[in-house]
Symmetry: C2
Subunit: 197 residues, 2 copies
DNA sequence: TATAAGTGAATGAACATTCATTTATATTTG
DNA sequence: CAAATATAAATGAATGTTCATTCACTTATA
């Protein structure tokens, strides 16, 4: 028996994400992907059932990596301020170190496959987040809020800043926008001010 | 001379946005669009140069409608709290009354056409926003912040809540999420708390 | 030597766009 | 006012391209 060449699968996965991020989901052509990954189109179908399966497998792998990165050193029993800060750090870190993968995930989530992807979300993850928030409310470290309102205040400013950074486009058209620690810390302190009693 | 049938153009525009929102940008097929709008494929090319022009024209028309809606009753010299509240109201209103159009714009902005679209953004609009914020800082009604950090706190929670509402998916998988006035007001008050000295 | 990896060429469907005509109507002409 | 004409709207079929996927075959190796 001949063994699978792991490098081939890696090349396919990497070039597929690159194509999607650079040219949109419909820019992912199986024939062009084969050329980019230096394999035959038929080879892709050894590793993936079809085009949709390829996209879904990439999502599954990357979602898991992202969840793992996001939960690094995190404990749902942490004090609120410390836990939220760690969440910001982990999420920011994942984006900065994996911009291609993070953008790929975001693109697919905003696409017609968004439904399918959201069904693969880890239970473990939302459970930890829920426990963290409920504990914080109980201990009066945080005000009581509907989960969606909490999330919108706690994390959407961070993701908005990250998107500004990745695109390089802020509100000063002449120069490239760059997110720095000072801005992250400032935004975080405002969010904390909003969420604490 | 034969006059153009305005209803045909409207049908094309409407069905195009519907297709994009329902099936993604690559789900917009000119031949299927012709069937949906009840015209010949060739007719579409009377009104629009090509597929990309169609998408861009839709963006231009809708961006203008959105800017107009957002600036309704707004004056950059308004007191900060009042002005920000009106902004929230106008933006929320536009989304609730034009979910199809708003989702279309968002989808195209997140796509490979995003670059092109952002170049069409109204000067008038950003000028008004800048004046509003600078005035508020000057009068000490708002803390001084980099524009991007300000925007991320001031508006991204609103858009996040709107996206929850439109998708119907919040953090309770069993029931449909619905954004109500109480939640908007709560989120707004937290944002205001974060941004005021 | 058996088996699965890997291939290049082929297939048929869907795609954006064009073209040779036909159709409706605003304007001109009698 | 009515018939003729000019003009652009509107069309269905056709064009050439690109697409995802398959298949008969070759290659590497356990």
């Amino acid at each position: 028996m001949r063994a699978r060449d792991e490098q081939k699968e890696n090349a396919i996965r990497h070039e597929a994400m690159k194509a999607v991020v650079q040219k949109g989901l419909d820019g992912l052509s199986m024939q062009k992907l084969a050329v980019a990954a230096n394999v035959s189109p038929a080879t892709i179908y050894i590793y993936f059932k079809d085009r949709e399966d390829l996209i879904m497998q990439l999502c599954i792998t990357e979602s898991e990596r992202m969840v793992t990165a996001t939960l690094k050193d995190f404990d749902p029993e942490m004090p609120f301020g410390k836990g939220l800060k760690l969440q910001w750090k982990n999420r920011l870190n994942y984006w900065m170190k994996n911009p291609l993968e993070a953008q790929f995930l975001e693109l697919v989530r905003n696409s017609q496959y968004g439904e399918k992807v959201s069904k693969m979300t880890k239970r473990e993850f939302s459970a930890a987040m829920r426990k963290f928030v409920l504990g914080a409310i109980e201990r009066k470290e945080m005000i009581s809020l509907p989960a969606e309102v909490y999330w919108s205040i706690a994390f959407s400013p961070l993701y908005t800043l990250i998107r500004f950074h990745i695109s390089g486009k802020g509100f000063h058209p002449e120069k490239k926008y760059k997110l720095d620690d000072a801005q992250v810390n400032k935004a975080f302190s405002l969010v904390l001010k909003a969420l604490t009693p």
